[in-house]
């Protein structure tokens, strides 16, 4: 009986069809019995021999010996190449290092709340397909590379694995960590190449509608930016730049929107639960009479309010928060697309990526069944965002007697501005990162 069960489990294992429960059962059976382990070893030995035979049939069974002329080349950075070259000198021994073609390798180590785009491969774990564009609209994915380098990607994100110890990030936020020995790991973006010199750094890859705009900030160590093959710049810890194009030429800017470039709240690790459960507003359309638009992809449309992205994250051209037009308090309306009972609303304020020149100070929330006649829900104030770098911004909850409604309008009545600037500075106004709407 157990023997048959073991056989089925081993078969599933070799066919790569063993599920979670099967794994647990196999572990239990093997731990409990030395006979089962001996059986497992015999089955694996056969599996191994068949795999090896399939990988290089012509060498199967032939005894291999090193030839007298064998000479080994020293190891360089491209160690697989060196291995292949060295072993090629060994005649029949060549096959041993080449059990299969060596391509770039990256594994999905963790994934959280990921929504893959339709048509994209969706590796929940294991190998990332090579030379294939991958895309997800929401969530976080952590990739690991053989050198020990790891990359946390934050949606929406498009990326591709083309070469060893490198990743092409076409759009999205990436946080890169390379341990000692993995120096040289690089990220290729449409704006340029970022070579890690043993460090931790962040990237936000976006665009201004026509040209790429890439923001980078070095958290530890050093990074080399190659805007063109001949033009490289080194950044050290604490430094940040925006790589933009002006008149077709790449340019590195230290300031963006009249403030130093900064990547606040970069995801060094995957965040915990996202608190979206029961949020009626997630992904719903939002309308506003206007929104802030500035150069280099600094545009902040109202759809950002219900996109599930928080903490002033995002990339140029695709930020996570809404900003009212320059100098205005602003307003917006969320359409829940159907009548809903609503009894609680949570708001996450913005401080415009740490620039601290925008955000909501006071507001009124209104409900409506038809988007014409509105009734009041809440009048209140919102605190200024004072979260330290890397900390999540707080959500402030507002509860009221549950009512039926389809539309929720927020009218900002006072905003925060940068106190160090003159009071008539144009860069100020209302803004908000996220609105969550719940039944109770």
């Amino acid at each position: 009986m157990t023997e048959d069960r073991l056989e089925l489990l081993l078969h599933a294992l070799f066919e790569e069809a063993l599920d979670e429960a099967g794994r647990a059962e196999l572990n239990e059976l093997l731990l409990a019995s030395a006979d089962a382990r001996a059986r497992y070893r015999r089955a694996t030995a056969l599996h191994s021999a068949l795999l090896r035979k399939a990988a290089h049939p012509s060498y199967f069974g032939a005894p291999v010996e090193a030839s007298a002329e064998a000479r080994l080349v020293p190891f360089r950075r491209g160690r697989w190449l060196a291995a292949a070259a060295g072993v090629a000198l060994l005649g029949s021994a060549a096959a041993i290092f080449m059990t299969r073609p060596r391509g770039p390798v990256a594994n999905v180590l963790e994934a959280q709340d990921v929504a893959w785009t339709e048509g994209s491969p969706s590796p929940a774990s294991g190998r990332v397909p090579v030379a294939t564009p991958l895309e997800f609209t929401r969530g976080f994915v952590k990739l690991g590379f053989p050198s020990g380098a790891s990359v946390v990607l934050e949606g929406p994100c498009r990326f591709r694995l083309d070469e060893k110890e490198a990743l092409s990030v076409i759009h999205g936020r990436a946080s890169i960590h390379t341990p000692k020995g993995a120096q040289g790991f690089r990220i290729d973006t449409p704006g340029g190449r970022f070579v890690d010199l043993g460090t931790e750094f962040g990237l936000a890859v976006g665009n201004d509608g026509a040209d790429p705009v890439v923001l980078t900030e070095v958290f530890k160590g050093e990074v080399e930016i190659q805007a063109t093959p001949r033009d490289s710049t080194r950044l050290t810890v604490g430094e940040s730049r925006a790589l933009v194009r002006e008149s077709g030429k790449p340019k590195l800017l230290a300031d963006l929107d009249e403030s130093p470039v900064a990547l606040v709240n970069h995801a060094h690790d995957l965040p915990q639960s996202n608190g979206e459960e029961g949020n009626l507003a997630l992904g719903k359309p939002v309308f506003s009479p206007g929104y802030c638009t500035r150069p280099h992809g600094s545009v902040f449309p109202p759809d950002n309010l219900t996109d599930g992205r928080l903490n002033d994250s995002g990339v140029p051209g695709d930020w996570s928060f809404w900003l009212a037009p320059d100098g205005e308090d602003g307003e917006f309306t969320v359409d829940l697309l159907a009548l809903q009972t609503v009894g609680r609303i949570e708001l996450q304020n913005t401080n415009n990526r740490g620039i601290d020149d925008r955000g909501t100070a006071a507001f009124e929330l209104l409900g409506s069944l038809d988007n014409k006649n509105f009734f009041p829900l809440v009048t209140a104030e919102l605190s200024r965002v004072t979260a330290a770098k890397g900390e999540a911004y707080p959500f402030q909850p507002f509860s009221f007697d549950p009512v039926e409604l389809r539309y929720v309008k927020m009218v900002v009545s006072a905003h925060y501005r940068n106190e160090k600037r003159p009071s008539n500075h144009p860069c100020q106004g209302g803004g908000l990162n996220e609105i969550r709407i719940f039944s109770k």
Binding site: E7, L8, H11, L13, F14, E15, E16, R23, L26, N27, L30, L31, R37, A38, Y40, R41, R42, A43, T44, A45, L46, H47, S48, A49, L50, L51, R52, K53, A54, F60, G61, V64, E65, A66, S67, A68, A70, L72, F75, R79, A83, V87, L90, S92, A93, I96, F97, T99, R102, V105, N107, V108, L109, E110, A124, S125, G126, R127, G144, P146
Partner: protein, 174 residues
């Protein structure tokens, strides 16, 4: 054709080449994921090569190679993420120790397999070899043979079982 190895590196390359079957099956038994196991075999080969100078030729090669392989397996398990682990840590330790012991009195499995493959009915031999050819899925093979994937999978299980029994018989012969 062969000559005395000139130095430690050459000796090691000869040993690595000769013992690929044992190294592969040892690693695969601890890490039953063919892609990961392939990576670890490669890593192990390179580490063995790099450490050529540390190897004492008066000692048997395999126990030394297995120690290094086990270390590489553990590193790969650390890197690969828990959801790719088939076995718990404690089971890996047991399998590693027993595998090392078992290998010291193993026979020529490759030769036995060749001969057992020849004993299989032609259709079965073709099927099992096709299943192991790179890129072939059970679905594709079933479609080619106008069979359901379940039926084909069951056939594969029977072929494996037949091969295992045959190999066991051949290895038991003096």
């Amino acid at each position: 054709m062969s000559a005395e190895p000139h130095n430690a590196e050459e000796r090691i390359v000869g040993l690595i080449a000769r013992h690929q079957p044992e190294i592969h099956r040892y690693i695969l038994s601890l890490l039953p994921d063919r892609m990961l196991a392939d990576d670890v075999v490669q890593e192990t080969n390179l580490v063995l090569w790099r450490k050529a100078a540390d190897y004492d030729p008066s000692q048997p090669f395999l126990p030394w190679a297995f120690t290094i392989a086990l270390y590489q397996v553990k590193a790969a398990r650390r890197d690969a993420g828990r959801d790719r682990h088939v076995f718990d840590d404690s089971l890996v330790e047991i399998l590693a120790a027993e595998g090392r012991e078992a290998e010291s009195h193993g026979g020529d499995l490759e030769k036995a397999l060749e001969s057992c493959l020849q004993e299989l009915p032609e259709k079965q031999r073709q099927l099992i070899l096709a299943r192991y050819a790179p890129g072939n899925s059970v679905q594709a093979l079933a479609a080619e043979r106008s069979q359901t994937p379940t039926a084909l999978s069951l056939t594969l299980m029977r072929i494996r079982k037949a091969l295992e029994t045959c190999i066991e018989r051949k290895l038991a012969l003096p």
